[in-house]
Amino acid sequence: MVEQGNVFDVFREPKHPYTQALMRSRPALKRKSERERLMPIRGNVPSPAQRPRGCSFAGRCPYVFQPCRDIVPARTETGPGHVARCHLLTQVPEGVEA
């Protein structure tokens, strides 16, 4: 589980980079002038036999930083009933202004 919550919250403001990436993969119903190139998630789904040690999305995440590959992110409440597991919700990567 990487993110869980009410449909309205999760669709309006997805907190986990995986959820955000899924949303960007789907062509939105937009007029030609606002059309953006689709952004598929890079890489492939890892084999369940070789599950990453830390966050399971670490190998494909565009925002990956130092704790991601080794430490499983904790369940973090981002709103009432809305939880996600991502280090970005609890830490700021080094070299990035908060």
């Binding site: 449909v7 309205f8 669709f11 309006r12 990436a21 899924l22 949303m23 960007r24 993969s25 789907r26 062509p27 939105a28 119903l29 937009k30 007029r31 030609k32 606002e34 059309r35 953006e36 190139r37 689709l38 952004m39 598929p40 998630i41 492939n44």
Partner: protein, 344 residues
């Protein structure tokens, strides 16, 4: 003729017989289809299952013989050829120019052939290249679709759905076609892989100057990729025109129904839905006498039950629609109103 392909009054009738001595019945799968495909465009053919979109694609490439009508193909620097009149051998050169990509990459690749042979086969059949040159062509086309040389000796089962679809695209591309007919080419893929393949199709189109006929039931994908759309219902073209105009304000109630049935990934817009989907697509052998859509249309009048509307240009729009009331009915489009756009 400036078009790359022009379909004129194309009809396809399937004859059915129940039992050896049973009565013969006729099934009109395609009725008097007219359409053009301009060079460099992506033309989408949309509609529900059973509307004839696949049959149309198959009749164009002569995988099925048309019952009547013409399919005019304009070769590079040549005069238009009517493909429907050609014998198998006469058709062969044009099979290099017009290629197909299929929906199910599991069943459209021969499981007993290695990737190299799957992609090399069209080159061998058309005697385009052999030996070293053939190898180079295969490796280079696979590279273009994102499959590395290490995959050449493997069999299709060793690949994921997305990779198999890439191999199918390489097979279509290796003969350097001008027109590709993609029949539900991304429908079996999950969203992220679908996005990769759609991006790939767009890049290949630019790189090789391709033209696509994109057969799909997925209108979000069609809105994204197509320049023009043909909407089919019960073997008829009911509406056609540029994608944006057709999605903004359709002129045929069936198009509205299709657009209305689209899931919008924004739960706050759920209540926008109004027109509920009425009824099911009727059995082809039981086609209504007047307008084919009359049994499900919320605007149906007596005239619609008795008189079949012709596909005609709708004044003041770039659209053509086959509806008696196309000028007056107010139909809902697919886009969010300009000022309340939410959710990317």
């Amino acid at each position: 003729m400036t078009a790359l392909l022009q379909v004129e009054n194309l009809s396809k009738v399937f004859s059915l017989r129940s039992g050896m001595f049973g009565p013969q019945r006729q099934l009109d799968a395609l009725v008097d289809i007219n359409l053009t495909v301009e060079p460099g465009e992506t033309l989408a053919i949309v509609g529900e299952s059973g509307c004839g979109k696949t049959t149309l694609g198959r009749c164009i490439v002569k995988a099925l013989p048309a019952t009547s009508g013409k399919v005019l193909y304009k070769p590079e620097g040549g005069e238009p050829v009517d493909l429907t009149t050609l014998r198998k051998r006469q058709m062969k050169p044009w099979r290099r120019d017009i290629r197909m990509i299929f929906q199910d990459p599991m069943s459209s690749l021969n499981p007993n052939m290695r990737v190299f042979d799957i992609v090399a086969e069209p080159l061998r059949i058309h005697k385009v290249a052999r030996g070293r040159a053939l190898e180079e062509k295969v490796v280079s086309v696979l590279e273009k679709v994102g499959i590395g040389a290490e995959a050449l000796g493997r069999y299709p089962h060793a690949f994921s759905g997305g990779q198999r679809q890439r191999i199918g695209i390489a097979r279509a591309l290796v003969l350097e076609p001008r027109l590709i007919i993609a029949d539900e080419a991304v429908s079996a893929l999950d969203v992220s892989i679908q996005a990769q393949i759609l991006n790939l199709l767009e890049d290949l189109k630019t790189d090789f100057g391709l033209t696509y006929i994109f057969i799909s039931h997925d209108l979000s994908v069609v809105n994204y990729i197509a320049d023009r759309v043909v909407v089919m219902y019960l073997g008829h073209v009911v509406e056609t025109g540029p994608t944006e105009a057709l999605f903004e304000r359709p002129r045929h109630p069936y198009t509205e129904l299709l657009l209305d049935a689209l899931p919008i990934p924004d739960p706050t817009r759920r209540s926008d839905r109004k027109a509920e989907v009425k009824g099911e697509i009727p059995y082809l052998g039981n086609r209504p006498k007047g307008c084919p859509f009359v049994t499900r249309c919320r605007f149906a009048q007596d005239r619609c039950r008795n008189e079949k509307p012709a596909l005609r240009p709708i004044p003041g729009t770039p659209l053509q629609a086959a509806c008696h009331f196309a000028e007056t009915i107010e139909l809902r489009g697919a886009y969010a109103p300009a000022d309340t756009r939410k959710l990317a």
